[in-house]
Amino acid sequence: MNFELLLQLVINGLIIGTLYGVVGMCFVLIYKASQIVNFAQGEFLLIGAWVCWWILTQFHLPFYAGFLLTLLFMMVFGILLQVLVLRPMIGEPIISVIMVTIGLSIFFQAIMNWMFGVFVQPFPPIFETKSVDIFGLNVQPAYLMSLVISIIIMGGFAWFFKYSRMGLAMRATAFNQQVAQSLGISIKQVFAASWAISAMVSALAGVVVGMVNGVSSALSFFGIKVFPAVILGGLDSVIGAVVGGLIIGVLENVAEYVDGQWLNVGNLYTIAPFYVLVIILMIRPYGLFGTEEIERV
């Protein structure tokens, strides 16, 4: 057994897992606030990364400026998407709303392919790609940055839900829309805000991944990866999304190790999370942290 490789893979898994966690939180945010399963979550990463890449390569702005512009764009994008496409769907059957988000996903992918092509484009480098040595392990600085940013975002989410006015309003809306309205909360504003925040933070994750792997349509694959993560965590639990993300991240990499060492199936990396998902859901249908009835996290 090659323990060093295993350890390296587990660490990689945790790093990628925190990113899954971040995207998972974005997914849960929308689900909790408006009960919409957003199948276009992965495309938010894709759009964010492409827009940022485009601004940086087109206008040669400093990174932070391009990045802030991207966030601004995503905020407007998220709000418009909610107001123009999803608000009219309020009151429609859940399945129709799901079909709409699947449609959006396909639409955005096609548009991005059409506008930016199908080839991987590297981000203008902001780190020397030399890897740093931590406890004898090779870690790319971009990975390290990804980890730090993910943890900051998670902290930000925790603060947002606990202390901010809008965060409390979102939780109240998730608890009961009528109660929220009786307190003077505009649930339309809450819905729009949840899409805006979700789009912005997903874009951030997209840029981070883009910096590591380059930007390509593969980014939207995150949307699919995040599914097992959030379902595992329980669709409506923010903490569950993070834990689910970490589990899926580590699992993938361990599966790859097992696969490479012994099984040689070839693509266990992609499939393993779904196997585990099925098993866990058979034991805990509401996911690890999901709401059963009145018990809430």
Binding site: Q178, S182, G184
Partner: protein, 279 residues
């Protein structure tokens, strides 16, 4: 009509100036077909504590929701008549806009946010406010409900009485001009009912919050209130000062008698006279 205008012509507009809220012959329909309120009118003078009594299903909660706008969240609609607050029509406004104007409904069954703490629930009550007084007001709520201060866990684990107190405290945080209370005594022990009613009275007297109180517990409500309306099958069938209602033989029989759950109808009785008619 604006308040200022009302003040300049006190003689003519005495009634509108006094009445903070006027419900003018409203008809309410749910799901576009279910007619629930069939011409309800009532007045709530500024600073008053008015109670709305009636049997199950009479339409009391519906009346409150028509005022607070929450009807719209249940596919209900005011199809005729007006709700007038401070001289302005408010029936077309969204619930959040009505909260901002100063009407706050404490819904039936308390409806606190169970997965939040007491403090978070109170902060939610102040959602529409942007001033700096929120912290002080929280202390003020704790002076009325001292036991809430000790509860640090999730609000879902509070006792029924504590939840009701939290619901009223949360309403206070909005600094409302008027509170609509829907059955605050529901499910509380007699001792606690007394306590809650005492606090409601104090809020009305000390803070000058105008109250419209819906109750099944007619005895307690009439003790606390200045004026009362009695509702049956979507109509107001009787109204008068709390004293008049308490002395009324029919009210005694149907609402105050022996605590019996069985309630008959006013329909066959000719003994009452409506104080006021609309249409």
């Amino acid at each position: 009509m604006s308040e200022a205008a009302a003040k300049t012509e006190p003689a003519e507009n005495a009634e509108t100036a006094e009445n903070l809220l006027t419900v003018n012959n409203i008809e309410v329909v749910y799901d576009e077909v279910i007619l629930v309120l069939r011409g309800v009118s009532l007045d709530v003078p500024k600073g008053a504590l008015v109670t709305l009594l009636g049997a199950n299903g009479a339409g009391k909660s519906t009346t409150l929701k028509a005022i607070s706008g929450l009807l719209k969240t249940e596919d209900g609609e005011v199809t005729r008549g007006d709700v007038i607050f401070k001289g302005n029509k408010i029936n077309h406004l969204a619930p959040e806009a009505i909260v901002r104007r100063g009407i706050f409904q404490v819904m039936e069954g308390r409806r606190i946010v169970e997965d939040m703490t007491v403090i978070e629930n109170l902060r939610l009550g102040a959602y529409t406010r942007k001033d700096k007084g929120v912290k002080d007001d929280m202390e003020m709520v704790f002076t009325y409900f001292p036991r809430l201060k000790e509860r640090t866990g999730l609000a879902g684990y509070l006792s029924g009485g504590e939840q009701q107190m939290l619901a009223i405290g949360r309403a206070l945080m909005a600094r409302p001009v008027m509170m609509l209370l829907d059955e605050p005594s529901m499910g509380l022990s007699p001792l606690l009912v007394g306590e809650v009613f005492e606090i409601i009275r104090r809020l009305n007297r000390d803070l000058g919050i105008t109250m419209l109180l819906v109750e099944q517990n007619a005895r307690m409500a009439l003790k606390a209130a200045d004026y009362g309306y009695i509702m049956e099958s979507g109509k107001i069938v009787l109204d008068g000062t709390a004293q008049e209602l308490s002395d009324n033989e029919d009210v005694k029989e149907f609402y105050l008698g022996g605590g019996g759950e069985e309630r008959k109808s006013f329909k066959n009785l000719k003994s009452y006279k409506r104080r006021k008619r609309w249409i």
